[in-house]
Symmetry: C2
Subunit: 180 residues, 2 copies
Amino acid sequence: MKNGTNSEDTEGMDIIKRELHNIKNRDAKSDINLKPIGVLHSSLKTLKGIPIQFSMSDTKGRIEIFEEYTSGLKDLDGFSHVYCIYFFDLVRLPVPLQSKPFLDNTKKGVFATRTPFRPNPIGLSVLKLINIEDNLIFIKNVDILDKTPILDIKPYVKEFDTIKVSKSGWLESKVRKKLS
Amino acid sequence: MKNGTNSEDTEGMDIIKRELHNIKNRDAKSDINLKPIGVLHSSLKTLKGIPIQFSMSDTKGRIEIFEEYTSGLKDLDGFSHVYCIYFFDLVRLPVPLQSKPFLDNTKKGVFATRTPFRPNPIGLSVLKLINIEDNLIFIKNVDILDKTPILDIKPYVKEFDTIKVSKSGWLESKVRKKLS
């Protein structure tokens, strides 16, 4: 960026003014390369007995943000919950596109389930934020294996992310049963 | 997998029995390579005037899932909302780790905002699912640029994803103001 990428002196989120890749050269089939921004630490050392969802977990843990990204945590501590986006690094590709999920006996499409065994093994958990110390985010409701690479952290915002749902598909009766 | 990766005949989600990468050889700093599973089509052809959040958008669109993944959509139509995880392919790295977001005048850490300009430019939107025809998912509340590569689709499940939030940090007063 001519006027200083990585400068922290941007004037508002004026996305139009930033230097972008050329909009005419886009290819939605191009490979995408990502670098983890951190690593998760938890008591969940093996897959056996791991909570099947963050909403069913009381486990605490911490996200270690790699030093070079620490300044990106400013003001995150004002939020009670965060989205944690991570990579299921143990998953071996390719995966089946249909399988029987944990909570049911008939096959579902992978995109209608929350299985880790996905074409892009990306995980998404909403975690309760306890506190932040330097580059460590202390969190609760962890359903993520120890040493999992972290891709992104975003604030969970009630006004954006709490949705009035009218249908929960095949999970509708299952989840209620499991939690009660 | 010895007993048939890509076979669609798995018995339950028995993740312990699947062949995984060796848990001892993990490196949380390894690069991660992903391949888009589809592409988004919308009337949002440029960044100018694009809705700043899905919760503020009425725009319709469709996600084209690439043919080879179509069978993964089975039963997704039972859900009223889906998480769409995508790649901000126009973002040029590196990005500033702190900047002034659209809704405020003081600098925030990138992980305390929802800006597309993130170390891993991964987007997350909750979209209303209208219907599915073959490999096309018709959706509403689109805040995503036309031709954006799609990484994953997951069902939004009220019991998992609707969280009782106690703090929305710097966004708390801003969002209310903007929407009212």
